[in-house]
Protein backbone atom coordinates (compact mmCIF):
# COMPACT_ATOMS: atom_id res chain seq x y z
CA UNK A 1 0.00 0.00 0.00
CA UNK A 2 2.10 2.86 1.30
CA UNK A 3 5.66 2.02 0.48
CA UNK A 4 8.30 3.13 2.97
CA UNK A 5 11.50 4.47 1.53
CA UNK A 6 13.33 5.38 4.71
CA UNK A 7 13.15 9.08 4.05
CA UNK A 8 15.32 8.80 0.98
CA UNK A 9 14.42 10.97 -1.97
CA UNK A 10 11.72 9.12 -3.90
CA UNK A 11 11.68 10.82 -7.24
CA UNK A 12 14.62 9.18 -8.90
CA UNK A 13 17.69 11.41 -8.90
CA UNK A 14 15.75 14.64 -8.58
CA UNK A 15 16.79 17.01 -5.85
CA UNK A 16 13.47 18.80 -5.96
CA UNK A 17 10.03 17.42 -6.60
CA UNK A 18 8.40 20.81 -7.06
CA UNK A 19 10.29 23.88 -8.19
CA UNK A 20 8.92 27.34 -8.79
CA UNK A 21 11.16 29.91 -10.41
CA UNK A 22 9.95 33.53 -10.47
CA UNK A 23 6.41 32.33 -10.92
CA UNK A 24 3.52 34.73 -11.34
CA UNK A 25 -0.12 34.01 -11.94
CA UNK A 26 -2.64 36.50 -13.25
CA UNK A 27 -6.34 36.15 -13.68
CA UNK A 28 -8.88 38.61 -15.04
CA UNK A 29 -6.26 41.28 -15.56
CA UNK A 30 -5.01 41.19 -11.96
CA UNK A 31 -1.88 39.49 -10.68
CA UNK A 32 -2.78 37.06 -7.89
CA UNK A 33 0.69 35.69 -7.24
CA UNK A 34 4.00 37.28 -8.14
CA UNK A 35 7.70 36.43 -8.22
CA UNK A 36 7.44 33.15 -6.34
CA UNK A 37 10.50 30.99 -6.05
CA UNK A 38 10.55 27.73 -4.13
CA UNK A 39 12.26 24.38 -4.16
CA UNK A 40 10.50 21.52 -2.44
CA UNK A 41 12.91 18.71 -1.60
CA UNK A 42 11.79 15.09 -1.61
CA UNK A 43 10.61 13.90 1.81
CA UNK A 44 10.09 17.40 3.18
CA UNK A 45 7.04 18.65 5.05
CA UNK A 46 5.82 22.15 4.19
CA UNK A 47 2.95 24.21 5.47
CA UNK A 48 1.59 27.11 3.48
CA UNK A 49 -0.28 29.78 5.36
CA UNK A 50 -1.85 33.08 4.58
CA UNK A 51 -5.15 34.86 4.99
CA UNK A 52 -8.22 33.73 3.13
CA UNK A 53 -8.05 34.84 -0.49
CA UNK A 54 -4.29 35.21 -0.42
CA UNK A 55 -3.87 32.61 -3.16
CA UNK A 56 -3.04 29.39 -1.30
CA UNK A 57 -5.34 27.26 -3.45
CA UNK A 58 -4.03 28.89 -6.61
CA UNK A 59 -0.50 28.20 -5.46
CA UNK A 60 -1.30 24.53 -4.89
CA UNK A 61 -2.98 24.29 -8.30
CA UNK A 62 0.21 25.59 -9.87
CA UNK A 63 2.07 22.89 -7.96
CA UNK A 64 0.09 20.05 -9.50
CA UNK A 65 -0.32 21.46 -12.99
CA UNK A 66 -4.00 22.34 -12.75
CA UNK A 67 -3.09 25.94 -13.59
CA UNK A 68 -0.35 27.27 -15.83
CA UNK A 69 1.87 30.06 -14.50
CA UNK A 70 1.54 33.26 -16.50
CA UNK A 71 5.21 34.01 -15.90
CA UNK A 72 8.20 32.05 -14.68
CA UNK A 73 8.62 28.29 -14.59
CA UNK A 74 6.99 25.50 -12.62
CA UNK A 75 8.93 22.23 -12.69
CA UNK A 76 7.46 19.01 -11.40
CA UNK A 77 10.00 16.22 -11.04
CA UNK A 78 12.40 18.29 -13.13
CA UNK A 79 9.94 18.71 -15.99
CA UNK A 80 8.72 22.16 -16.97
CA UNK A 81 4.93 22.06 -16.90
CA UNK A 82 4.69 24.68 -19.64
CA UNK A 83 6.07 22.33 -22.27
CA UNK A 84 3.82 19.43 -21.38
CA UNK A 85 0.60 18.33 -23.06
CA UNK A 86 -2.56 17.85 -21.00
CA UNK A 87 -2.08 14.08 -21.13
CA UNK A 88 1.53 14.45 -19.93
CA UNK A 89 0.34 16.59 -17.03
CA UNK A 90 -2.31 13.96 -16.25
CA UNK A 91 0.36 11.25 -16.06
CA UNK A 92 2.59 13.48 -13.93
CA UNK A 93 -0.33 14.20 -11.62
CA UNK A 94 -0.51 10.51 -10.73
CA UNK A 95 2.70 11.07 -8.78
CA UNK A 96 1.01 13.84 -6.80
CA UNK A 97 -1.86 13.03 -4.47
CA UNK A 98 -4.23 15.93 -3.86
CA UNK A 99 -6.61 16.39 -0.93
CA UNK A 100 -9.07 19.18 -1.62
CA UNK A 101 -10.90 21.26 0.93
CA UNK A 102 -14.24 20.20 -0.56
CA UNK A 103 -12.88 16.70 -1.24
CA UNK A 104 -14.39 16.41 -4.72
CA UNK A 105 -15.85 12.93 -4.97
CA UNK A 106 -18.04 11.23 -7.51
CA UNK A 107 -21.19 11.18 -5.43
CA UNK A 108 -22.80 8.27 -7.26
CA UNK A 109 -19.93 5.88 -6.51
CA UNK A 110 -19.26 4.27 -3.11
CA UNK A 111 -16.21 5.17 -1.05
CA UNK A 112 -14.21 2.17 -2.26
CA UNK A 113 -14.62 3.11 -5.91
CA UNK A 114 -13.85 6.76 -5.20
CA UNK A 115 -10.70 5.82 -3.34
CA UNK A 116 -9.70 3.44 -6.16
CA UNK A 117 -10.43 6.01 -8.87
CA UNK A 118 -6.75 6.92 -9.47
CA UNK A 119 -6.05 3.23 -10.13
CA UNK A 120 -8.96 3.00 -12.55
CA UNK A 121 -7.98 6.07 -14.56
CA UNK A 122 -4.38 4.89 -14.81
CA UNK A 123 -5.52 1.50 -16.10
CA UNK A 124 -4.14 -0.52 -13.18
CA UNK A 125 -5.49 -3.97 -12.49
CA UNK A 126 -8.25 -3.66 -9.92
CA UNK A 127 -7.88 -7.21 -8.60
CA UNK A 128 -4.26 -6.73 -7.58
CA UNK A 129 -5.17 -3.41 -6.01
CA UNK A 130 -8.02 -4.88 -4.01
CA UNK A 131 -5.91 -5.94 -1.04
CA UNK A 132 -4.17 -2.56 -0.98
CA UNK A 133 -7.53 -0.84 -1.05
CA UNK A 134 -8.79 -2.73 1.99
CA UNK A 135 -5.55 -2.05 3.84
CA UNK A 136 -5.76 1.60 2.95
CA UNK A 137 -9.37 1.94 4.10
CA UNK A 138 -8.40 0.30 7.38
CA UNK A 139 -5.47 2.72 7.72
CA UNK A 140 -7.78 5.74 7.47
CA UNK A 141 -10.46 4.03 9.59
CA UNK A 142 -13.10 3.74 6.90
CA UNK A 143 -13.49 -0.03 6.58
CA UNK A 144 -17.04 0.07 7.89
CA UNK A 145 -17.91 2.91 5.52
CA UNK A 146 -16.50 1.30 2.40
CA UNK A 147 -19.86 0.93 0.68
CA UNK A 148 -21.26 4.30 1.74
CA UNK A 149 -21.79 7.04 -0.80
CA UNK A 150 -19.78 10.27 -0.27
CA UNK A 151 -22.82 12.38 0.67
CA UNK A 152 -23.46 9.93 3.53
CA UNK A 153 -20.03 10.60 5.08
CA UNK A 154 -19.23 13.07 7.84
CA UNK A 155 -16.71 15.86 7.20
CA UNK A 156 -13.89 13.93 8.88
CA UNK A 157 -14.71 10.74 7.01
CA UNK A 158 -14.69 12.64 3.72
CA UNK A 159 -11.29 14.11 4.48
CA UNK A 160 -9.89 10.69 5.35
CA UNK A 161 -11.42 9.18 2.21
CA UNK A 162 -9.84 11.99 0.20
CA UNK A 163 -6.48 11.25 1.85
CA UNK A 164 -6.85 7.56 1.07
CA UNK A 165 -7.57 8.40 -2.57
CA UNK A 166 -4.60 10.77 -2.64
CA UNK A 167 -2.16 8.09 -1.50
CA UNK A 168 -3.51 4.98 -3.22
CA UNK A 169 -1.10 5.40 -6.15
CA UNK A 170 1.73 5.71 -3.63
CA UNK A 171 2.56 9.17 -4.94
CA UNK A 172 5.80 10.98 -4.20
CA UNK A 173 4.05 14.17 -3.16
CA UNK A 174 0.85 14.87 -1.25
CA UNK A 175 -0.75 18.29 -1.49
CA UNK A 176 -3.57 19.13 0.89
CA UNK A 177 -5.71 22.23 0.64
CA UNK A 178 -7.23 23.18 4.01
CA UNK A 179 -7.69 19.51 4.93
CA UNK A 180 -8.94 20.39 8.41
CA UNK A 181 -11.15 23.26 7.33
CA UNK A 182 -14.45 21.50 7.94
CA UNK A 183 -13.63 19.10 10.75
CA UNK A 184 -13.27 19.26 14.52
CA UNK A 185 -9.99 19.37 16.46
CA UNK A 186 -9.92 15.69 17.31
CA UNK A 187 -10.45 14.69 13.69
CA UNK A 188 -7.87 17.19 12.47
CA UNK A 189 -5.32 15.66 14.86
CA UNK A 190 -6.13 12.24 13.46
CA UNK A 191 -5.64 13.53 9.94
CA UNK A 192 -2.37 15.18 10.92
CA UNK A 193 -1.16 11.89 12.38
CA UNK A 194 -1.80 10.25 9.02
CA UNK A 195 0.07 13.00 7.17
CA UNK A 196 3.03 12.76 9.56
CA UNK A 197 3.06 9.00 9.10
CA UNK A 198 3.14 9.49 5.32
CA UNK A 199 6.01 11.95 5.67
CA UNK A 200 7.94 9.44 7.76
CA UNK A 201 7.50 7.01 4.88
CA UNK A 202 9.34 9.52 2.72
CA UNK A 203 6.44 11.29 1.10
CA UNK A 204 6.74 14.99 0.42
CA UNK A 205 3.90 16.85 2.10
CA UNK A 206 2.64 20.35 1.36
CA UNK A 207 -0.37 21.50 3.35
CA UNK A 208 -2.14 24.81 2.79
CA UNK A 209 -3.89 25.85 5.97
CA UNK A 210 -4.72 28.81 8.14
CA UNK A 211 -5.01 26.51 11.17
CA UNK A 212 -2.00 27.57 13.26
CA UNK A 213 -2.80 24.96 15.89
CA UNK A 214 -2.35 22.26 13.28
CA UNK A 215 1.04 23.67 12.30
CA UNK A 216 2.22 23.78 15.91
CA UNK A 217 1.04 20.24 16.50
CA UNK A 218 2.90 19.08 13.39
CA UNK A 219 6.10 20.87 14.39
CA UNK A 220 6.04 18.91 17.62
CA UNK A 221 6.16 15.66 15.65
CA UNK A 222 8.15 16.29 12.50
CA UNK A 223 10.52 18.80 10.94
CA UNK A 224 8.54 21.28 8.89
CA UNK A 225 9.01 24.45 6.89
CA UNK A 226 6.29 27.04 7.06
CA UNK A 227 5.68 29.34 4.12
CA UNK A 228 3.36 32.29 4.03
CA UNK A 229 1.73 34.10 1.16
CA UNK A 230 1.62 37.78 1.89
CA UNK A 231 1.03 40.59 -0.56
CA UNK A 232 1.01 38.07 -3.42
CA UNK A 233 4.52 36.93 -2.54
CA UNK A 234 5.87 33.82 -0.92
CA UNK A 235 7.78 34.26 2.32
CA UNK A 236 9.23 32.12 5.05
CA UNK A 237 7.02 32.33 8.14
CA UNK A 238 8.39 33.76 11.36
CA UNK A 239 9.81 31.90 14.29
CA UNK A 240 6.53 32.27 16.18
CA UNK A 241 5.32 29.30 14.17
Amino acid sequence: MLRHNNAEPRAGNTTTVIELENVAYSYGGGELLTDMTLKVAPGSFHFLTGPSGSGKTTFLKLCYGALQATAGHVRLFDRDVRGLSRDDVAVLRRKIGVVHQDCQFLDHLPVTENVALPLAVSGQDASSADANLKELLAWVGLTSRADALPPELSGGERQRAALARAVIMSPDVILADEPTGNIDWEMSQRLLTLLVELNRMGKTILVATHDLGLIRAAKAQVQTRVLRISNRRLQMAGADL
Partner: protein
Amino acid sequence: MILDWRSTAKMLQFDEKADRVVPPTGFTARLTLFSSFAMAFLAVFALALSLAAGRVADRWGEELAQSSTLRISAPAGEVATQTEAALRVLRTTPGIEDARALTAEEQRALLTPWFGPDLPIEDLPLPQLIDITETEGGYDAAGLRLRLAAEAPAAVLDDHARWRRPLVDAAARLRLLGWLSILLIASATAAMVTLAANAALAANAQVIAVLRLVGAKDTYIARAFVRRFALRSLTGAAVGTLVGVIALFLIPAGSDETGFLTDLRLQGIGWLWAVLIPPLSGLVAFVATRFAAGRVLEELA
Protein backbone atom coordinates in the same frame (compact mmCIF):
# COMPACT_ATOMS: atom_id res chain seq x y z
CA MET B 1 -8.63 16.89 -29.31
CA ILE B 2 -7.13 15.23 -32.32
CA LEU B 3 -9.21 12.37 -33.70
CA ASP B 4 -6.57 9.68 -34.09
CA TRP B 5 -7.14 5.98 -34.63
CA ARG B 6 -5.33 4.88 -31.48
CA SER B 7 -7.43 6.91 -29.08
CA THR B 8 -10.58 6.16 -31.10
CA ALA B 9 -9.92 2.43 -30.84
CA LYS B 10 -9.39 2.84 -27.10
CA MET B 11 -12.79 4.42 -26.79
CA LEU B 12 -14.43 1.35 -28.26
CA GLN B 13 -12.87 -0.92 -25.65
CA PHE B 14 -15.21 -2.05 -22.91
CA ASP B 15 -14.15 -0.66 -19.55
CA GLU B 16 -16.75 -1.09 -16.86
CA LYS B 17 -15.01 1.30 -14.48
CA ALA B 18 -14.69 4.01 -17.12
CA ASP B 19 -18.34 3.57 -17.99
CA ARG B 20 -19.35 3.98 -14.36
CA VAL B 21 -17.62 7.29 -13.66
CA VAL B 22 -20.41 9.28 -15.31
CA PRO B 23 -23.69 9.37 -13.34
CA PRO B 24 -26.12 7.10 -15.16
CA THR B 25 -29.24 9.21 -15.13
CA GLY B 26 -30.29 12.50 -16.62
CA PHE B 27 -32.48 13.96 -19.34
CA THR B 28 -29.68 13.62 -21.88
CA ALA B 29 -30.00 9.84 -21.67
CA ARG B 30 -33.69 10.00 -22.50
CA LEU B 31 -33.13 12.64 -25.18
CA THR B 32 -30.50 10.53 -26.92
CA LEU B 33 -32.61 7.38 -26.71
CA PHE B 34 -35.74 9.10 -27.98
CA SER B 35 -34.10 11.06 -30.80
CA SER B 36 -32.26 7.95 -32.01
CA PHE B 37 -35.48 5.96 -31.84
CA ALA B 38 -37.44 8.60 -33.78
CA MET B 39 -34.72 9.14 -36.35
CA ALA B 40 -34.28 5.42 -36.99
CA PHE B 41 -38.05 5.07 -37.38
CA LEU B 42 -38.06 7.88 -39.96
CA ALA B 43 -34.96 6.47 -41.63
CA VAL B 44 -36.73 3.15 -42.18
CA PHE B 45 -39.53 4.96 -44.03
CA ALA B 46 -37.14 7.12 -46.01
CA LEU B 47 -35.23 3.97 -46.93
CA ALA B 48 -38.39 2.12 -47.90
CA LEU B 49 -39.56 5.10 -49.94
CA SER B 50 -36.24 5.39 -51.70
CA LEU B 51 -35.98 1.70 -52.47
CA ALA B 52 -39.60 1.49 -53.65
CA ALA B 53 -39.12 4.54 -55.86
CA GLY B 54 -36.03 2.89 -57.26
CA ARG B 55 -37.91 -0.28 -58.02
CA VAL B 56 -40.70 1.66 -59.72
CA ALA B 57 -38.23 3.68 -61.77
CA ASP B 58 -36.43 0.55 -62.88
CA ARG B 59 -39.64 -1.32 -63.68
CA TRP B 60 -41.18 1.51 -65.63
CA GLY B 61 -37.94 2.14 -67.42
CA GLU B 62 -37.54 -1.49 -68.46
CA GLU B 63 -41.14 -2.37 -69.23
CA LEU B 64 -42.17 0.79 -71.00
CA ALA B 65 -39.00 1.04 -72.98
CA GLN B 66 -39.79 -2.30 -74.65
CA SER B 67 -43.44 -1.70 -75.49
CA SER B 68 -45.68 0.63 -77.51
CA THR B 69 -49.39 0.95 -78.17
CA LEU B 70 -51.21 1.53 -81.41
CA ARG B 71 -54.69 3.05 -81.18
CA ILE B 72 -57.23 2.60 -84.02
CA SER B 73 -59.83 5.35 -83.74
CA ALA B 74 -62.08 4.76 -86.70
CA PRO B 75 -65.82 4.59 -87.35
CA ALA B 76 -67.31 1.28 -86.17
CA GLY B 77 -67.44 -0.26 -89.63
CA GLU B 78 -63.79 0.44 -90.43
CA VAL B 79 -62.13 -0.64 -87.19
CA ALA B 80 -61.56 -4.27 -88.22
CA THR B 81 -60.13 -3.31 -91.64
CA GLN B 82 -57.84 -0.66 -90.22
CA THR B 83 -56.72 -3.04 -87.48
CA GLU B 84 -55.80 -5.71 -90.02
CA ALA B 85 -53.93 -3.17 -92.13
CA ALA B 86 -52.04 -1.83 -89.14
CA LEU B 87 -51.09 -5.36 -87.98
CA ARG B 88 -49.74 -6.11 -91.47
CA VAL B 89 -47.58 -3.00 -91.35
CA LEU B 90 -46.36 -3.78 -87.86
CA ARG B 91 -45.47 -7.41 -88.64
CA THR B 92 -43.26 -6.27 -91.48
CA THR B 93 -41.55 -3.49 -89.56
CA PRO B 94 -37.97 -4.20 -88.43
CA GLY B 95 -37.52 -3.86 -84.66
CA ILE B 96 -40.99 -5.13 -83.77
CA GLU B 97 -41.00 -8.54 -82.16
CA ASP B 98 -44.73 -8.95 -81.78
CA ALA B 99 -47.96 -7.01 -82.42
CA ARG B 100 -51.28 -8.16 -81.10
CA ALA B 101 -54.76 -6.62 -81.02
CA LEU B 102 -56.22 -6.64 -77.51
CA THR B 103 -59.39 -8.66 -77.05
CA ALA B 104 -62.59 -7.06 -75.76
CA GLU B 105 -61.95 -8.77 -72.41
CA GLU B 106 -58.47 -7.29 -72.15
CA GLN B 107 -59.77 -3.83 -73.02
CA ARG B 108 -62.49 -4.22 -70.40
CA ALA B 109 -59.87 -5.22 -67.82
CA LEU B 110 -57.95 -2.04 -68.58
CA LEU B 111 -61.03 0.08 -67.96
CA THR B 112 -62.36 -1.83 -64.95
CA PRO B 113 -60.36 0.14 -62.34
CA TRP B 114 -62.07 3.33 -63.52
CA PHE B 115 -65.57 2.23 -64.61
CA GLY B 116 -66.19 -0.95 -62.63
CA PRO B 117 -66.58 -4.59 -63.80
CA ASP B 118 -69.98 -4.34 -65.52
CA LEU B 119 -68.95 -1.96 -68.26
CA PRO B 120 -70.88 -2.67 -71.52
CA ILE B 121 -67.77 -2.24 -73.62
CA GLU B 122 -69.46 -3.45 -76.79
CA ASP B 123 -71.85 -0.48 -76.71
CA LEU B 124 -69.11 2.11 -76.34
CA PRO B 125 -67.21 3.69 -79.22
CA LEU B 126 -63.85 2.62 -77.85
CA PRO B 127 -60.73 2.58 -80.03
CA GLN B 128 -59.09 -0.77 -80.75
CA LEU B 129 -55.73 -1.11 -79.04
CA ILE B 130 -52.77 -3.01 -80.46
CA ASP B 131 -49.99 -4.02 -78.09
CA ILE B 132 -46.52 -3.83 -79.66
CA THR B 133 -43.50 -5.60 -78.22
CA GLU B 134 -40.20 -4.28 -79.48
CA THR B 135 -36.95 -6.06 -80.05
CA GLU B 136 -33.97 -4.94 -78.01
CA GLY B 137 -32.85 -2.58 -80.73
CA GLY B 138 -36.31 -1.00 -81.07
CA TYR B 139 -37.90 0.37 -84.26
CA ASP B 140 -37.84 3.60 -86.21
CA ALA B 141 -40.91 5.39 -84.81
CA ALA B 142 -40.88 8.19 -87.42
CA GLY B 143 -40.69 5.72 -90.33
CA LEU B 144 -43.46 3.57 -88.85
CA ARG B 145 -45.72 6.60 -88.46
CA LEU B 146 -45.26 7.44 -92.15
CA ARG B 147 -46.12 3.89 -93.23
CA LEU B 148 -49.15 3.77 -90.92
CA ALA B 149 -50.38 7.10 -92.28
CA ALA B 150 -50.42 5.52 -95.71
CA GLU B 151 -51.80 2.04 -94.87
CA ALA B 152 -53.97 2.65 -91.79
CA PRO B 153 -54.70 6.35 -91.44
CA ALA B 154 -56.87 5.84 -88.31
CA ALA B 155 -53.89 4.39 -86.40
CA VAL B 156 -52.13 6.51 -83.82
CA LEU B 157 -48.78 5.25 -82.54
CA ASP B 158 -47.94 5.87 -78.90
CA ASP B 159 -44.37 4.79 -78.17
CA HIS B 160 -44.75 5.90 -74.51
CA ALA B 161 -41.74 8.19 -74.81
CA ARG B 162 -43.85 11.28 -74.16
CA TRP B 163 -45.01 10.21 -70.70
CA ARG B 164 -42.47 7.53 -69.85
CA ARG B 165 -39.54 9.90 -69.45
CA PRO B 166 -41.21 12.22 -66.86
CA LEU B 167 -42.44 9.21 -64.86
CA VAL B 168 -39.04 7.59 -64.79
CA ASP B 169 -37.46 10.94 -63.98
CA ALA B 170 -39.96 11.52 -61.16
CA ALA B 171 -39.35 8.08 -59.69
CA ALA B 172 -35.58 8.58 -59.89
CA ARG B 173 -35.95 12.00 -58.24
CA LEU B 174 -38.07 10.42 -55.52
CA ARG B 175 -35.36 7.85 -54.93
CA LEU B 176 -32.80 10.63 -54.62
CA LEU B 177 -35.06 12.49 -52.20
CA GLY B 178 -35.29 9.33 -50.10
CA TRP B 179 -31.52 9.07 -49.79
CA LEU B 180 -31.27 12.80 -49.14
CA SER B 181 -33.81 12.36 -46.34
CA ILE B 182 -31.66 9.62 -44.83
CA LEU B 183 -28.64 11.94 -44.97
CA LEU B 184 -30.64 14.71 -43.29
CA ILE B 185 -31.88 12.28 -40.66
CA ALA B 186 -28.28 11.23 -39.95
CA SER B 187 -27.26 14.90 -39.69
CA ALA B 188 -30.17 15.69 -37.38
CA THR B 189 -29.25 12.69 -35.23
CA ALA B 190 -25.66 13.93 -35.06
CA ALA B 191 -26.86 17.43 -34.10
CA MET B 192 -29.19 16.15 -31.39
CA VAL B 193 -26.62 13.76 -29.94
CA THR B 194 -24.04 16.57 -29.99
CA LEU B 195 -26.43 18.83 -28.08
CA ALA B 196 -27.20 16.08 -25.59
CA ALA B 197 -23.49 15.28 -25.19
CA ASN B 198 -22.66 18.96 -24.69
CA ALA B 199 -25.35 19.22 -22.04
CA ALA B 200 -24.16 16.04 -20.33
CA LEU B 201 -20.54 17.18 -20.35
CA ALA B 202 -21.47 20.62 -19.00
CA ALA B 203 -23.69 19.07 -16.31
CA ASN B 204 -20.82 16.79 -15.32
CA ALA B 205 -18.11 19.45 -15.13
CA GLN B 206 -17.57 18.45 -11.50
CA VAL B 207 -17.07 14.82 -12.52
CA ILE B 208 -14.53 15.92 -15.12
CA ALA B 209 -12.73 18.04 -12.50
CA VAL B 210 -12.51 15.05 -10.14
CA LEU B 211 -11.22 12.78 -12.90
CA ARG B 212 -8.57 15.30 -13.86
CA LEU B 213 -7.62 15.71 -10.21
CA VAL B 214 -6.81 12.00 -9.96
CA GLY B 215 -4.79 11.95 -13.17
CA ALA B 216 -7.29 10.93 -15.86
CA LYS B 217 -6.26 11.63 -19.44
CA ASP B 218 -8.73 13.32 -21.76
CA THR B 219 -9.11 10.07 -23.71
CA TYR B 220 -10.29 8.29 -20.57
CA ILE B 221 -12.78 11.03 -19.70
CA ALA B 222 -14.09 11.24 -23.25
CA ARG B 223 -14.45 7.47 -23.45
CA ALA B 224 -16.85 7.44 -20.51
CA PHE B 225 -19.16 9.82 -22.35
CA VAL B 226 -18.62 8.63 -25.93
CA ARG B 227 -19.30 4.96 -25.25
CA ARG B 228 -22.39 5.78 -23.27
CA PHE B 229 -23.88 8.01 -25.96
CA ALA B 230 -22.99 5.59 -28.74
CA LEU B 231 -24.63 2.72 -26.88
CA ARG B 232 -27.74 4.74 -26.12
CA SER B 233 -28.01 5.79 -29.74
CA LEU B 234 -27.50 2.20 -30.87
CA THR B 235 -30.23 0.99 -28.52
CA GLY B 236 -32.71 3.73 -29.48
CA ALA B 237 -32.03 3.19 -33.18
CA ALA B 238 -32.42 -0.60 -32.89
CA VAL B 239 -35.85 -0.20 -31.31
CA GLY B 240 -36.81 2.54 -33.81
CA THR B 241 -35.75 0.36 -36.74
CA LEU B 242 -37.70 -2.60 -35.41
CA VAL B 243 -40.84 -0.53 -34.90
CA GLY B 244 -40.40 1.04 -38.36
CA VAL B 245 -40.14 -2.37 -40.03
CA ILE B 246 -43.21 -3.62 -38.16
CA ALA B 247 -45.07 -0.50 -39.32
CA LEU B 248 -44.08 -1.27 -42.92
CA PHE B 249 -45.53 -4.73 -42.52
CA LEU B 250 -48.81 -3.20 -41.37
CA ILE B 251 -49.24 -1.50 -44.77
CA PRO B 252 -51.54 -3.77 -46.81
CA ALA B 253 -49.57 -5.76 -49.36
CA GLY B 254 -50.34 -5.42 -53.05
CA SER B 255 -49.12 -6.75 -56.34
CA ASP B 256 -46.73 -4.94 -58.62
CA GLU B 257 -49.68 -3.63 -60.58
CA THR B 258 -51.32 -1.94 -57.61
CA GLY B 259 -48.41 0.43 -57.57
CA PHE B 260 -46.10 2.40 -55.39
CA LEU B 261 -47.98 2.73 -52.07
CA THR B 262 -48.41 -1.00 -51.60
CA ASP B 263 -44.83 -1.69 -52.61
CA LEU B 264 -43.10 -0.07 -49.63
CA ARG B 265 -42.03 -3.27 -47.90
CA LEU B 266 -38.32 -3.92 -47.81
CA GLN B 267 -37.08 -6.53 -50.22
CA GLY B 268 -33.76 -8.23 -50.86
CA ILE B 269 -30.81 -5.96 -50.17
CA GLY B 270 -33.21 -3.42 -48.64
CA TRP B 271 -33.15 -5.54 -45.47
CA LEU B 272 -29.40 -5.15 -45.28
CA TRP B 273 -29.76 -1.37 -45.42
CA ALA B 274 -32.35 -1.50 -42.62
CA VAL B 275 -30.09 -3.69 -40.47
CA LEU B 276 -27.33 -1.10 -40.96
CA ILE B 277 -29.44 1.76 -39.53
CA PRO B 278 -28.73 1.02 -35.79
CA PRO B 279 -24.94 0.60 -36.15
CA LEU B 280 -24.78 3.66 -38.40
CA SER B 281 -26.74 5.61 -35.79
CA GLY B 282 -24.30 4.40 -33.12
CA LEU B 283 -21.39 5.44 -35.33
CA VAL B 284 -22.88 8.90 -35.92
CA ALA B 285 -23.38 9.28 -32.15
CA PHE B 286 -19.85 8.07 -31.49
CA VAL B 287 -18.26 10.60 -33.83
CA ALA B 288 -20.56 13.44 -32.71
CA THR B 289 -19.88 12.80 -29.01
CA ARG B 290 -16.16 12.38 -29.67
CA PHE B 291 -15.94 15.85 -31.17
CA ALA B 292 -18.26 17.36 -28.53
CA ALA B 293 -16.16 15.82 -25.75
CA GLY B 294 -12.96 17.08 -27.35
CA ARG B 295 -14.30 20.60 -27.55
CA VAL B 296 -15.75 20.68 -24.02
CA LEU B 297 -12.63 19.14 -22.46
CA GLU B 298 -10.57 21.78 -24.25
CA GLU B 299 -12.83 24.52 -22.86
CA LEU B 300 -12.73 23.10 -19.34
CA ALA B 301 -8.93 22.75 -19.36
